[in-house]
Symmetry: C2
DNA sequence: TATTAGCACTCAACTAAAATGAGTGCTAAC
DNA sequence: GTTAGCACTCATTTTAGTTGAGTGCTAATA
């Protein structure tokens, strides 16, 4: 199972070549383009060995070799060269990412976007989730005679319009009670019981129709239950269409369909590289999703502080430019960490 | 230029057929499938006439006919039969659309989604824009020792995280002044001068570092300037891949690229059916965007009240099922109108 | 013993020619 | 005015043949 130096060099040459061309690599090409000082015949013998060992595959008798999943895995773990991003690329990226960093969702989205531009693959990015989403403030603001805006501030802001008739004063009073009861509570602490006790408190102190209270509280509860929902953004899905492995429209469509379903994405994002520090990859069959069996998914965690964590991932063909993707994800995740660091408590 | 009854029937039959098959329609097929009681030879003569009049095109000498842009236009204006959506479809749709109607953006997004499910084409939907976005409330909420959430409530809610050190009390005071100065102002009324006068007011009344004030106000101004930005959502873009006219991956990619750029979409949405009541279509060459020259765009306006208005559009191949698309857009736009009606003032 | 030149063999991909058939336009008869 | 009949057109499909990249094996070489 252990490869000698020459086999490693040859395997590396073949995979590098295949990543670039998407065509089976022949012995002659290896012996010519890569200066190993070996004839094609020798390479041929070594390739036969590498195939036997499971690192290469021959699509048909008279074709060159392509890497197997195991081949890619070995390449990622031990063979690939470090990719160095250009200084100006890095600076441009830092600059663009730092813009309007206050709009968290947008920053996260842009991180995905920039990754997709940098790598030219599809990216998936999940907004940070806290273990405990603590309510900082609740507010009710009348918008028209018939509508009141409910606003719940946590680390982010949720809002929804409620169709109800409450005056400015009534809103303030109800909001006061809501704040007294819910501030500093986390979403999972708030149950139907909590809501009922608030209902009692309001009807005691504020002279408004019980029906209106129930209506408002219904929405409060609904909004609170949604606090922990993660947003997930997919970007540059169209890039899939440029790779020869997806020239078949139906294959492409299957992937698009997969990527359109947030449920799939949540599973995907959840089940990848959780315990790992830094960038990690799932290659081909290592993916759980059937449809990604001939794709690779490379992910990295970023964090907002110790607790809140999100993920950034790249989806592409198995023969993706791993070196570049690894370098890009590494850079961007660190960039996010340091950018968002300024909002942390300094305990 | 005026068509007799028989020519109309034949043209209608041909377009209906072509919409279904995407294959040039021959005279024999028309005389067989559609019970006109005419032989293929007769149909052939009529088809030759229709071609001369500009309603049909013959891709090559020995092929059937396909509709020209003018043909589709005539079809949409005078020929197509009314499409009736099933009662259960309508009810299901009403039900799904009504869910969580308080989250405006989500409702709009879902309207687009449901349209895309109903029609199986790509949809574009713009969130409603008011002529004047009036500020209802501004708030500052401390999130951590180092971060304050700025919240601006209009008909919707904008928020952003500011990296600054302000205590709860300081936030309240600053927010009080912001509200006093900005409440009931619209975005275009707020200039740099307004901001400077607020700066003066704060430094007079609240004992905090001027640097912090400037920092916060900078973000306030930025957020206010963004108030009138419209969100635009594209959904079910992948549906493009299922139509034979887009089996060519490169064509598909061009459209995806087009749809990914919000600027394009804004122009698209802005320049379509503005003055029209009800559903309107842009067929092929009628579209401004070069890339949509062999697509059709069908749009409808929906309104939140007299002023705030958004658009819902369907993009598909020229041979789209216009009847169904018209019926769907009509239904959904009315549904939105009545759903969002409950938030209106009842002046 | 490791490497390489040489050669027969394989097989996908390309090419050219031939067959097919859907559809037309025209003419003459009804 | 309508239609049957027929010659003609031309994209598409089918077929057979050619090409060429690449392999595996063998025997010669360092």
């Amino acid at each position: 199972m252990d490869l000698n130096e020459r086999k490693k060099l040859i395997l590396q040459a073949i995979i590098d070549e295949y990543i670039g061309s998407a065509e089976p690599v022949g012995s002659r090409a290896v012996s010519k383009k890569h200066e190993l000082g070996l004839s094609s015949a020798t390479i041929r013998n070594e390739m036969a060995d590498l195939e036997e060992m499971g690192y290469l595959i021959q699509p048909h008798a008279s074709a060159g070799r392509i890497p197997s999943d195991a081949g890619y895995r070995f390449y990622v773990n031990s063979l690939m060269k470090r990719y160095k991003l250009g200084l100006e690329t890095i600076e441009k990226l830092q600059h663009e990412l730092a813009e309007r960093v206050g709009m968290l969702d947008r920053t996260i989205k842009r991180a995905g976007f920039l990754t997709s531009v940098l790598t030219d693959y599809t990216t998936v990015v999940s907004a940070p989730v806290s273990e405990r989403t603590e309510i900082k403030k609740i507010d009710l603001v009348p918008i028209s005679d018939n509508a009141v805006m409910l606003i719940i501030v946590t680390r982010t802001v949720k809002n929804r319009l409620i169709s109800t008739r409450l005056s400015f004063d009534e809103c303030q009073k109800v909001a006061g009670i809501l704040n007294a009861c819910l501030r500093e509570k986390s979403a999972d602490e708030i149950t139907m019981d909590t809501i009922h006790s608030i209902e009692a408190a309001i009807s005691e102190k504020v002279p408004i129709e019980p029906k209106l209270i129930i209506n408002v509280l219904h929405y409060v509860y609904e909004a609170v239950s949604e606090l922990d929902d993660t947003e997930i953004y997919v970007q540059n899905a169209k890039s899939i269409l440029q790779y020869p492995e997806y020239q078949d429209v139906n294959k492409a469509r299957d992937i698009f369909t997969f990527l359109e379903d947030k449920q799939n994405l949540k599973k995907l994002i959840a089940g990848s590289g959780d315990d790992t520090e830094g960038v990690s990859a799932k290659i081909g069959d290592e993916n759980d999703a059937e449809i990604l069996k001939d794709c690779s998914l490379v992910t990295v965690n970023y964090s907002l502080d110790g607790k809140a964590v999100g993920k950034l991932g790249v989806i592409g063909p198995k023969r993706m430019n791993y070196a570049k993707v690894f370098a890009s994800l590494d850079l961007i995740s660190h960039e996010i960490d340091s950018l968002l660091g300024c909002f942390d408590d300094d305990r």
